[in-house]
């Protein structure tokens, strides 16, 4: 658990807004290089981490976790030190007014999303502002700001990393760094002798803006199997029981038409036999994860989708239970030792 806590904290502090992931590639290398045999990167911003098995001509198992996050981009610089922005990915604009942000220009500068006090509001009805109508207040003059910031520079919402009771953590960008953390923990604990596959962990870019990164990796790697990992909606109340998974009860196996049916069934049966705790969730058609494009890459790839329950998705206080990350790692290890074809 110590590794998970430390790695998760480090991952969450990395700036990896979709399209700007390369800014953090060295930090990923630092974290991953003690664990893996090879590290490579591509033009799109994906990083591929390889752990070799002892087998000659081993088959390839790809394990994907995206490391990009939703965020914003500077579109205009105004008098008085204000910036306009647009969203990158599905940002929840309800959380923006009065949020703290960092702008990654020539140097990192801080700002807050300004908001109009209720006293001054002409329209008294509360409504969610459009992102184009918001201004980021930096406190700089326009001239100084123009030296430091350019149109197109990325902006992220700031947030902390807070440990709650019962092994829960609230932090920014647990989507999908939680799963990346799980994949790293899994490979760290893998016994090379027992590996049935060469392991390719793809730290993929731009999931939040079109899910392209992982399928580009899959095209290059041509894996025999791919395990896609992403966060899923953690249950808060009973209203959404059938669309959610429960925090603290383990990682989930997603049953979907776009994940390989035989592999998914086989894995569920196998995990039961081995007494590895897990949940199940049904996503009949699209899963809205990297699974959907990886499964149709090249001549088609057999995929399995695993997910970690996460509450308050796409906010700076995404919340999860660390146990579920360990559970994800446990499942991945078990599968890496197994002949998946025979399940």
């Amino acid at each position: 658990m110590e590794f998970i806590k430390d790695a998760l904290n480090r991952l969450c502090s990395m700036m990896t807004v979709s399209g700007y992931e390369k800014k953090s590639k060295n930090d990923i290398s630092d974290l991953a290089s003690p664990i893996f045999d090879e590290i490579s990167e591509d033009s799109f911003g994906n990083i591929t981490l390889v752990k070799r098995s002892c087998k000659a001509n081993a088959k390839r198992l790809m394990i994907d976790a995206h490391f990009d996050t939703v965020g914003m981009m500077v579109t205009d610089i105004h008098e008085g030190g204000f910036l306009s922005v647009i969203n990158i990915g599905g940002l929840d604009t309800r959380i923006l007014p009065s949020a703290e942000v960092s702008i990654y220009g020539k140097e990192r500068i801080y700002g807050i999303v300004s908001s109009v006090p209720p006293h001054l509001k002409k329209d008294k009805k509360s409504s969610v502002p459009k992102i184009e109508e918001l201004y980021i207040d930096t406190g700089y003059s326009k001239e100084k700001l123009e030296e430091l910031v350019r149109i197109g520079d990325p902006v992220v919402i700031e947030g902390g990393y807070t440990e709650l009771l019962n092994g829960f953590v609230a932090a920014k960008y647990l989507d999908d760094k939680a799963c990346l953390c799980g994949a790293l923990d899994a490979v760290r604990r893998m016994d090379k002798e027992r590996l049935n596959y060469d392991i390719y962990v793809t730290v993929s870019a731009q999931e939040e803006t079109g899910k392209c990164g992982a399928s580009l990796c899959a095209y290059s790697i041509k894996p025999d199997f791919a395990i896609i990992t992403d966060v899923n909606f953690g249950a808060v109340d009973k209203d959404n029981e059938y669309e959610t998974v429960k925090c603290g009860e383990g990682a989930a196996v997603d049953v979907s038409a776009l994940a390989d049916r035989k592999l998914t069934r086989g894995v569920i049966k196998y995990l039961k036999e081995k007494n590895v705790s897990h949940q199940r969730i049904c996503e009949p058609s699209y899963t809205y994860t990297n699974n959907d494009l990886v499964s149709v890459t090249g001549l088609g790839i057999k995929t399995l989708l695993l997910s970690v329950p996460l509450r308050s998705m796409h906010t700076p206080v995404e919340t999860l239970c660390l146990k579920d990350i360990k559970s994800l790692a446990d499942i991945i290890i078990e599968l890496a030792y197994t002949d998946l074809e025979a399940l």
Binding site: G19, F44, S220
Partner: protein, 325 residues
């Protein structure tokens, strides 16, 4: 250049029916390229050989239009949309079929913003029989092409989207100086219906660097979307549109090249609309992708507006990128 622009503008080529415009572009490209081929989907690929980086430029030669779905008993023609038709701008405008039949696009309800499905085309026929003698279900219509010069460097007409990009590519192909880079100038099909043509073209070429040359919206007009881009402020270097986040190191490199070569440029973030950039960036294992855009007002209307000075800067930028990237 103006003669070539006229030819490019006045030859129609709706998505999926690019054969006529392709021949116009081919006859021009063959003068300057080492090899010109047409791929199975219809993309025209002009190659200027080199041993260095493989650089792919793409401008789409297709345009938006209509296809005929049904002809009613009164001889009125119902249509479906090919690409993003602006129905407000389309109403009461003249159209022409691929066989040269003129008509007018009309809304069914006079005072409401029509859906494309409720637009119909009146060719003046008295009956279904008379209409069917000239137009068949499945035929294509486009808004009548036009080109006029306004004051100064401003031109209006259609379809600047994206024949002006085709012009930039042809001029770049013609004017590019000797370089090590292996250059591909691709005139793509079916961009308006989902960025389709560029995908197999990039799959074939496997570029290291891919640049789409297309139009982008300008701000500052009463009806225009929010944009910092202005007519006359130079070629636009794309940072993002709704289909893509351009590779940022390429964006930065393009800015450097523009500054070094004293080319007037502006930053572009396009909030609505996609480009071939996205298809090229994610072909095979991916490549560095960006865009050079020509600021254009009133995109997808019958009177799109450009400033020729921006086009000249875009040609210079395309040449400089081809030579120096």
């Amino acid at each position: 250049m103006t003669e070539l622009l006229k030819k490019l503008m006045l030859t129609s080529g709706v998505s999926g029916r690019e054969n006529k415009i392709r021949e116009v572009i081919r006859s021009e490209a063959e003068k300057y390229a080492d090899e010109v081929i047409t791929d199975p989907m219809g993309n025209l690929i002009a190659h200027k050989r080199g041993k260095g980086k493989r650089v792919m430029f793409a401008a789409h030669m297709d345009e938006i239009g209509y296809f005929v779905t049904f002809i009613d008993e009164k001889g009125l023609i119902r249509v479906g949309a090919v690409g993003g038709i602006n129905t407000l701008a389309a109403s009461y405008c003249d159209v022409i079929s691929e066989n040269g039949v003129y008509g007018i696009a009309l809304p069914t309800e006079a005072n409401e913003l029509p859906k494309v499905e409720s637009l119909y085309i009146d060719i003046g026929a008295k009956s279904r029989k008379q209409a069917e003698a000239r137009v068949k279900v499945g035929d294509y219509f486009v808004h009548v092409p036009r080109l006029k010069r306004l004051s100064g460097n401003k031109y209006v007409g259609r379809p600047f989207d994206d024949r002006i990009g085709c012009l930039v590519l042809l001029e770049a192909l013609k004017n590019v100086k000797d370089t090590d880079n292996d250059l591909y100038f691709v005139f793509t099909v079916q961009e308006e219906v989902g960025l389709r043509g560029a995908k197999p073209a990039a799959y074939r070429i496997e570029p290291d660097i891919a640049i789409a040359v297309d139009v982008t919206s300008v701000g500052g007009k009463p009806t225009s979307p929010k944009s910092k881009v202005k007519l006359g402020d130079g070629a636009a270097i794309k940072i993002k549109d709704s289909s893509v986040i351009c590779s940022y190191e390429l964006v930065c490199r393009m800015r450097e090249i523009a500054v070094d070569s004293k080319i007037k440029y502006q930053d572009e973030i396009l909030l609505k609309g996609g480009t071939d950039t996205a298809s090229m960036q994610t072909s095979k294992a991916g490549c560095l992708a960006g865009g050079i855009s020509i600021p254009t007002a009133y995109i997808h209307s019958v009177n799109e507006m450009i400033d020729m000075s921006d086009v000249k800067e875009a040609i210079k930028l395309a040449c400089a990128v081809a030579e120096r990237i």
